[in-house]
């Protein structure tokens, strides 16, 4: 009810009208006859994009937390490796990382006959494990840096209090430190997650077909330039909208 009311503000009505006009104009003047032929492919592509994105952000974040923590307060033998990892990951193009993992590391395996005959070979032969690994490491590298800042930004007094009550280090971490750190970087994390969404197309370089690759295929099959990209943009916007919404929900739950 309230959401409906909040949509009825005058400026929002104007915006919605403009948007509707734009959609109408696109629908009428542009070429969409290719859609039926590519629809099944597109659905598959969207699914691939979504699951790769979701899996790698979750795994990546789980890695980012220890990476950030190690850099923020870890002893040197943890903080230096963590820092180096983040620097290398952030410092080299993701394309290169994917490429090195798949064509470099991946093409070493087949040289060993015992790997070729092992249970793992059907998976190692696939491309998606490399895609997932590369994107996970990438997200972990960027977010490790973000979480480092977040952990160091929590006020000292908040942690001291926890300590003074005899909280175990892990409990303190889970109950006080992490929630406050996440609260401080939630908007940044949201942005980084959308960046991750837009990094997924690179998996096409190692033969994983996501929605972006489908749109490229339409473009090269038909030489239509804008329409597949517009549709792609809409798909991305919907996914990004969902991500934003999820983060907003999350943000609203956390107090300031």
């Amino acid at each position: 009810m309230t959401t409906l009311k909040s949509l009825m503000l005058p400026h929002r009505i104007v915006m919605m009208a403009l948007f509707a006009a734009l959609v109408l104009w696109c629908a009428v003047t542009l070429r969409w006859d290719w859609i039926p032929k590519y629809a099944p492919l597109a659905v598959e592509g969207i699914w691939t994009t979504i699951w790769i994105m979701a899996v790698t952000t979750v795994l990546g974040f789980l890695l980012a937390v220890p990476l950030g923590l190690a850099q923020a307060i870890g002893p040197w033998y943890l903080s230096i490796p963590a820092r180096s990892f983040c620097t290398v990951i952030r410092g080299t193009p993701l394309l290169l990382q994917i490429w090195l993992l798949y064509y470099g590391l991946g093409s070493l395996f087949p040289q060993f006959p015992w790997i070729r005959s092992s249970e793992l070979w059907p998976y190692l032969r696939q491309a998606w494990p490399y895609a997932v690994l590369a994107l996970t490491l990438s997200y972990a590298g960027y977010e490790g840096e973000v979480m480092r800042g977040a952990f160091s930004g929590v006020a000292k007094g908040q942690l001291e209090t926890a300590k003074s009550f005899g909280m175990r280090r892990f409990t303190m971490f889970r109950r006080i430190w992490l929630p406050q750190a996440i609260r401080n970087v939630l908007p940044t994390l949201g942005g980084e997650t959308i960046l991750q969404l837009k990094a997924t197309p690179l998996v096409a370089t190692i033969t994983v077909i996501d929605i972006y690759a489908v749109s490229s295929r339409v473009r090269s099959d038909t030489f239509i330039v804008y329409e597949p990209l517009l549709l792609l943009a809409v798909v991305y916007m919907v996914i990004a909208g969902l991500i934003t919404l999820a983060f907003k929900r999350f943000e609203a739950q956390l107090p300031r």
Binding site: G157, Q158, E160, T161, A162, K163, S164, F165, G166, M167, R168, R169, T171, R175, I176, P179, Q180, R183, L254, P255, R256
Partner: protein, 265 residues
């Protein structure tokens, strides 16, 4: 009321167990020596008031006792258990210090309520997650405590929306919720009006009667006199004078203390 635990030999032997024993505590921040050898004893049920000028090292002393600051040197014994220390003063056994801290509650000068949790959550945090009290029980107890400090209606408020005095009362309630043997209060009444100060006084007396030990930094001499059975005057990192309140306030020996007290009517 329990008798004072003073450093001088007492005429009649005091059989109560020792709760806090600090010996020759030193603490420096860089080149600034804040504590220059402080020794202090408190037996079970003692209320020790620590008074002294601003910057004399009162907060630092409390913070050293539960190892929030690493002492530069010294010995600390709590509840009969000596804290094992490395050469640099840091606790040698993290588990030990964590265990000791669960029996040692602190009310901070700046309150330090957890900003991301409501009042109720702040109170039940330690009971539920450290002491493993069942949640429902912890909540019930928290409600009682919050009512006691007059915050029953603020139960779901975040600390940022509380007045200074309300925050301080919440911090006291949080410390009480862990049912500690030893309590460290850093100016627990600084933001409270006289009525509430009176109530805190009652609470502290009740706690002492239950056999808990309290170290209490305060600027209100009247409060110190009424609540404590032992008063310690800290001056520039050293204990300048100590004794039962009647003596310290009624008949101060040191010039410093005389001057310090002269502004109090």
């Amino acid at each position: 009321m329990p008798t004072a635990a003073s450093a001088d030999p007492l005429p009649e032997p005091d059989t109560r167990a020792e709760a806090i024993h600090v010996e020759d505590l030193h603490k420096s921040f860089g080149t600034l020596e804040v504590l220059k050898g402080v020794s202090l004893k408190a037996k079970k049920g003692d209320v020790v008031a620590i008074i002294g000028g601003s910057g004399s090292g009162k907060s630092t002393m409390l913070r050293c006792i539960n190892f929030l600051e690493t002492p530069s040197s010294g010995r600390i014994v709590i509840d009969g258990e000596e804290v094992k220390m490395n050469a640099d003063g840091s606790p040698a056994d993290r588990r030990q210090i964590e265990r000791i801290r669960t029996r040692l509650a602190m009310v901070f000068q700046q309150f330090n309520l957890w900003t991301h949790r409501t009042l109720l959550e702040n109170i039940i945090e330690v009971p539920v997650y450290v002491l493993k009290v069942p949640r429902a029980e912890a909540i019930a107890q928290a409600r009682v405590l919050l009512d006691r400090v007059g915050l029953g209606d603020k139960i779901d408020t975040f600390p940022a929306f509380l007045s200074g005095g309300q925050q301080q009362r919440a911090a006291i309630a949080r410390a009480l919720a862990v049912d500690p043997n030893v309590m460290l209060f850093d100016e627990p009444t600084s933001a409270l009006d006289p009525e509430l100060v009176g109530e805190v006084l009652t609470v502290i007396r009740d706690l002492a009667a239950e056999g808990r030990t309290m170290l209490l930094v305060t600027h209100e001499m009247k409060f110190a006199r009424e609540v404590a059975n032992h008063v310690v005057y800290l001056f520039e990192g050293r204990i300048e004078e100590q004794g039962p309140p009647a003596e310290v306030f009624g008949n101060p020996q040191s010039e410093r203390l005389k001057q310090f007290l002269s502004s109090v009517t």
